[in-house]
Symmetry: C2
């Protein structure tokens, strides 16, 4: 039942981002947007599942369709307004404050996975309400070689922990940042945190450390992928989603989920994230071609190369 199909679920939204040096105004955002744009660098057959309001411009949707992403699972609610988030980064860009969140159509989001994608080999549950993530899983048809990935954040640990744990037990690959891994596990050490999260379900635990790279814990063998040192980080928004997108796109294209494939997928995710932060919002992912992506991937491979 192996195929190259990737189902993505996540938000599609308007973001308003304030960094120490710039203000974005109201721009395209949302986990599914970043995941989709990043996943499209690999040769996967991608369907996005999301919800937007009547205010969501056609041009934003066409950014995804131009990359070959099926958006028949993106519901547009007439008379409704799209999810809106406004945030401001601190001086060092490592922390941010949420200034405003308006759920709007997301409040009643009832996801529908397009029929022809229900047998997908790879499912990427982007960061949103775990009850919505669960509804996506429940619509899938059986596929014994399926890989389910999940991204989440502290917000859902605080508000929906039981629902989140109920989804996590179905998950093969979890991506989570270091602080959230400690919160989820109740541990203060990442090795112990990963051990605890393994017991919740995921065989592959990927801990994202931002500029400090990413750690994979699989069985008793950790793997580390560095982040590219960048001269200029313009906007970290969407970096984690881009990571999840690059990784899940690669897994779908490869049609197998072994440790070496996951590791290479982490390099894809890291590459997508490093492109993402180079401009405000999705701008750099939108502008970067597959050739740009592969050139950036090569930089990352040189960063790991010990023999030259």
């Amino acid at each position: 039942m192996k195929n190259n199909k990737l189902v993505i679920v996540g938000t599609m939204a308007f973001d308003e981002i304030i960094t120490p040096t710039a203000e974005s105004g109201k721009i395209l955002g949302g986990a599914a947007t970043y995941i989709g744009l990043a996943a499209a660098y690999a040769d996967a057959d991608i369907a996005a599942v999301s919800v937007v309001g009547e205010d969501f411009p056609e041009e934003h949707l066409s950014l995804l369709t131009n990359r070959g992403i099926d958006i028949s699972g993106v519901e547009q609610v007439m008379g409704g307004k799209s999810f809106y988030w406004k945030g401001k980064y601190h001086t060092n860009m490592n922390k941010r404050d949420t200034l405003d969140t308006q759920l709007n159509v997301l409040a009643d989001f009832n996801p529908t996975v397009p029929k022809k994608h229900r047998d997908a080999s790879v499912v990427m549950l982007g960061n949103l309400d775990p009850k919505v993530q669960r509804k996506v899983l429940d619509q899938l048809t059986p596929n014994p070689s399926r890989t389910v990935l999940l991204d989440t954040m502290n917000f859902w640990m605080d508000l929906e922990l039981a629902a989140l744990l109920d989804v996590i037990k179905e998950v093969d690959v979890i991506t989570i940042n270091d602080e959230e891994a400690m919160q989820l596990s109740g541990q203060t050490n990442l090795v112990l945190a990963a051990k605890a999260i393994h017991k919740m379900g995921p065989e592959f635990v990927i801990i994202k450390k931002g500029e400090h790279g990413a750690l994979l814990f699989y069985k008793d063998q950790p793997f580390f992928a560095p982040a590219l040192p960048l001269e200029n980080v313009v906007d970290p928004t969407g970096a984690g989603d881009s990571f999840a997108g690059g990784l899940s796109g690669y897994l779908a294209a490869q049609n197998t989920t072994t440790a070496p494939v996951i590791k290479k997928g982490i390099l894809y995710g890291t590459t997508a994230a490093s492109l993402c932060v180079g401009a405000m919002g999705t701008a750099n992912l939108v502008q970067s071609s597959k050739a740009d992506f592969l050139a950036q991937l090569q930089k990352l491979e040189r960063l790991r190369n010990i023999s030259a």
Copy 2:
């Protein structure tokens, strides 16, 4: 003029270390001690240059001589007291406060490099007063293929910047932590900091990021070496010195300083640091055999291995 000779200069001291879970009492410490113990894992011909007081026990010195380290350059001042440092780590072990520093015999330290080591191929200037580091350089006989490494800290940037810069301009390889790289360069970004430090002299700029690994900047090609994820960090004291020791020992043993050799040397340094932090003070370096070291190095290489 290539040889396997390594000259180390640094402190030899008494440390008193308080961690969230333990107090060391008065134990063996000092940069030259950690550097020497770590360097001895490689097949180098090592001489240590330092100063101790009459109170410094023979058993501490024999830890170095047992590893084949020449201590004829370690002056013992009769009637003098050894350098003493007391520090307390914060809960997360990433920060510490100095509670007491007594320079004692270090205040008048006039280093003497043993004659037979003055043509050394590798010189490791451990963290101490840059005027002492300069005196070591001035005693060396010419060796066109020599590699000079320097480790330093913010303390010397605050108090002896001119003297420090005067030494740095003679240095091939600098090891420095991320905050100190930013302080030394006046930059807030590590890529830009490394560029600025290159201009001060060092061709190889190694930025130590503790648990987040180490970044080498060489020409326009960065290299990243991860740190081993550890379940239990007992005491970070000496980790940076151990890194410098593992690196400089490997360089001396290899008898050449190319980018691939420096990179492998960084893995040696990282390995020594990961052993160091596993017990209080020097205990784990003292207890770990060369076989233990190589087993730890293999773990680090597996952490980088993408194909298994």
